[in-house]
Amino acid sequence: MLSINANRRSQLTELMSEHGWDLLVLYGHTWRKDYFRALVNFNFSGTHAAAVMDRSGEVRVITSDPWDAEALGVPYTPDFAAALPSRGKVAVAGKEIMQSRFTGAEQASATYAVEELRRVKTADELALIRQAAELSDRGYQHFAQSAEPGMTEYELVAETEAFLKRHGAEDNFMLIASGGTEVVGMKPPTERKLQPGDSVTTELTPQIDGYWAQICRTLVIGEPNAAQQEAYGIFAEARQAAQDSLKPGVNIADVAKATNDVFRKYGYGEYTGSKYTRVRGHNLGLHPDENPYVLEDVNYTVKEGMVVICHPNTYLPLSGYMVFGDTLLVTADGCASLNTTERKLFSK
């Protein structure tokens, strides 16, 4: 049966009225289901799905898979392209990811406007993100307990994925790395075996009913050496600087600057750029890597109700690549971590 996000429906009908759109299409495909699920929270199994809403808020769902149609209780139309609306003033959220055969220049893009609405979470959405954050904490505990010398990276990922699925994760986004100062970033797991002295970095991102939360931590196999401890001190200070600066009304560029200034203070400013790191954080929600990114060249005014991970992850010559970060909820006067995992350099 169709499960419609009533708050979003109301906001989207206002958006349609504001822009003079007759129909709003919220499109999703296998990788990016988020625009569709913002209104119809159904984890479709087929290749494509679209929710088509008119100005009255009436929603029609089109799926490319007959089993999805059956589960939703909607008619199945084998020709997905033909079922998409072609008349009237049509706007599409997710137009940019749509295959070009499905869309044309006459359709407006509603992508940015819908993403902007999605940035501030509803109470129901926040409840799911809290569940995902709680599972990320438990998942990290399992990850740290499971890691052993001699275990391959991909076996450790298998253990972690199984744990998260056992406890209700719909999916999980996870990267990993292991080793010493030669490690410059995270990637999918390899056959490398964990060794004493390794830094084992991971970001876990379980998804609950569509919504993602993330945690980043570093684990040392054995006792951390002096360089790893020194590096951790810098990362911890940078993570705290980000958390202290994240509040409604601030420019997200300033959150990135507060993070990076800690590295600069210790003489590691060059390691805050794109050569060594991607972003200093990002928004979370129905996609695990939403805009706005936390970067010094991204200007966006933070709003209460946003959910952001701030992670000063980067390479340092002291330690190799290290990661630390929590999922943060922007509150009325600051932010609160949704993670309860201890903020420390883990070791075992």
């Binding site: 089993w67 589960a71 070009s100 499905f102 991909y154 699925k165 406890h167 719909e170 999918p188 056959e191």
Partner: protein
């Protein structure tokens, strides 16, 4: 998600297989009078890039450019920090950082003097990627049917899918669906599976993502899994299987590439034929479907 072990075992998939595939591309470029073929790839649509270079973007997107003369070039949204890893699991050497892959493609075309290029399955490109002066090169033109190495990979994938699910399914009754999925996840990922989507049903609905239901002795489980770039799909059930296929899908990922009618499939097509209680992956032959 693609969280499993991504590797390239050259004994399993020899470099000569890629050389032969690229030769087919070059011949097609000759036929169409084009200097290069552009292959779009992202987390979802990774199979064509994988076929030609063994490259899989575990995140982000990329364009693989196969020139008629010379080595392939990857225009890649991923960080240069992972390029050594990419080189270790692909045939690629030249990788260009590309936050904007369309812009980088334009720059490459200008640099090489290309005024017109081929794009693999042009109508399937994301609409934000405008590639000027491009010509469609359909997948079927460079991939008339799976080659020997590809078929061997599909057979291995299908074997892994069957062996693990058939070993676990007899123990499913009484388990919460999340628990069964966790047990399968652990075994499949340990076996080297890169990506995995598991759906279950007790019969009242089509197979769906787990939702906390207790499985009955007559439950059915659908597994879509990717082994080193090769997707297969199977369905098994604790009850008498239906032989009436409810859907037939050309495989390109965890989900169907397109639904199709089995009678219309070209020879060599890899497809899944499923009811909600049984299903397998096949190759279409002149004599009908061959179970993989």
């Amino acid at each position: 998600m693609k969280r499993g072990w991504i590797t390239w075992d050259k004994a399993e998939l020899p470099p000569s297989a890629f050389e032969a595939r690229l030769e087919v591309v070059r011949k097609q470029l000759d036929v169409q009078g084009l200097p290069a073929l552009v292959v779009y790839t992202d987390v979802w649509r990774s199979n064509q890039g994988r076929y030609l270079a063994n490259f899989m973007p575990y995140w982000n997107r990329a364009l693989l450019v196969v020139p008629r003369e010379g080595a392939s070039v990857l225009l890649c949204g991923l960080s240069p920090r992972v390029y050594p890893w990419i080189r270790s699991v692909t045939i690629l050497d030249e990788i260009r950082p590309s936050q904007n892959i369309a812009q980088q493609l334009t720059a490459l075309c200008t640099e090489r003097g290309w005024t017109k290029i081929g794009v693999l399955d042009l109508p399937l490109l994301p609409s934000d990627l405008a590639i000027p002066n491009s010509v469609d090169v359909p997948w079927s033109a460079i991939h008339p049917e799976p080659d020997y190495a590809e078929l061997a990979m599909y057979r291995r994938a299908a074997q892994i899918a069957r062996e693990i699910l058939e070993a676990e399914l007899p123990n499913a009754a009484g388990l919460v669906d999340h628990e069964l999925v966790a047990r399968l996840e652990l075994k499949y990922r340990r076996a080297g599976v890169e990506d995995l989507v598991i759906l279950t049903t007790n019969g009242a609905t089509p197979p769906l993502p787990p939702a906390g239901s207790t499985l009955t002795p007559t439950c059915a489980v659908s597994v879509a899994m990717e082994y080193r770039g090769h997707w297969v799909k199977i369905v098994r059930s604790g009850y008498a299987v239906s032989t009436q296929a409810e859907k037939t899908e050309l495989l390109s990922g965890p989900y169907p590439y397109e639904h199709c009618t089995q009678a219309d499939l070209p020879a060599g097509a890899i497809f899944a034929m499923m009811s909600r209680s049984s299903g397998d992956t096949y190759r279409q032959t002149a004599h009908g479907p061959e179970l993989l």
